[in-house]
Symmetry: C2
Subunit: 190 residues, 2 copies
């Protein structure tokens, strides 16, 4: 059995904290090692490079995100309520991390197209989130023939992503609150 707090886990936990709060490029390997109390050779044993550590940071970030959002939507029954729960979870998550924004959007600004494997993680994560939310919108608008569910779904997704970025800029939850309110309105009376 793998140790619960072995070097690998400590590295990943520390790297996650530092990459998210300081940024990927502003976080050196040595700082991670020092704060995780791990030897340098152990890092290069478990992760082949800093780039790979970044990729696994994103992979785990995606798992954690969807695990969280499914917990929140799972507590609701109606699709429209599940969609609102997505915004509630976002508000909770952004506040919990002191408005650091989205790990994926942030790292995209840092690495650009330098790391194709990171870009792959980013676009896959966002694509999955988009489909996830659009699924609720479709169900909520089912039978409503005169409404373009695809269009409304993407609009709500854009509101969601806009709320993430603006919460970071304004260091406040108003973007999420207003985005949710508009999303709810769009599902009711379009």
């Amino acid at each position: 059995m793998t140790k619960k707090f072995g070097p690998r886990e400590r590295i990943l936990e520390t790297a996650t904290r530092l990459f998210h709060s300081q940024g990927y490029n502003n976080t050196g390997i040595n700082q991670i090692l020092a704060e995780a109390n791990v030897a340098k050779a152990s890092l290069y044993q478990h992760f082949g490079s800093k780039d790979e550590l970044g990729i696994i940071y994103l992979k785990e970030g995606r798992e954690e995100w969807f695990s969280g959002i499914e917990q929140w939507t799972g507590a609701k029954k109606a699709p429209a309520q599940k969609l609102s729960a997505c915004f509630d979870f976002l508000e909770y998550a952004l506040q919990k991390d002191d408005y650091l924004g989205c790990k994926f959007i942030n790292i995209l600004s840092e690495v650009g197209n330098n790391s194709p494997l990171m870009f792959k993680e980013i676009i896959e994560h966002k694509g999955k989130l988009r489909q996830y939310m659009k699924g609720f919108v479709e169900k909520a608008l089912e039978g409503n023939a005169d409404v373009d569910a695809d269009f409304v779904g993407d609009s709500i997704y854009l509101l969601y992503e806009g709320a993430i970025v603006e919460s970071k800029i304004y260091r406040d939850t108003w973007p999420v609150k207003k985005a949710r309110k508009m999303a709810e309105m769009l599902l009711k009376k379009v």
Copy 2:
């Protein structure tokens, strides 16, 4: 009179190109100097530090942005049309720069709270853009007492910002096109 293509101008033009395309942290002073054909001492003569160069890069970016958007909105008369023109300009600008996204959002991910003066430029730019767009929304909804113009205005602003970020991720204009369509819908029949 200041020279049109003196060292200062060449530095700023090159730094703008490189900061935007490669990122701020991925662009070293030496690369800027080499591509601008300028001596290192000249850079530190005109700009005291890389940080200050970054601040002026943002200041100029804001001027250029608003100069551009005002050209596009100035060609329209009705407030609703002016608002649509904001989206048209965005689509044009993002495509022109090959979907590099927003200079301000990008650099925020890189420097975080490390540079308070940069953060000041960022929040001022976004705050001004928000008010600029909300002004059109207010005028377009004037007399429409049963509609909360502030709420609709912020929603459209969030759609706008979401479209910027998602266009970068998907390397496509669909986010802007859909955001504009939704914005137009919100001004017509809410």
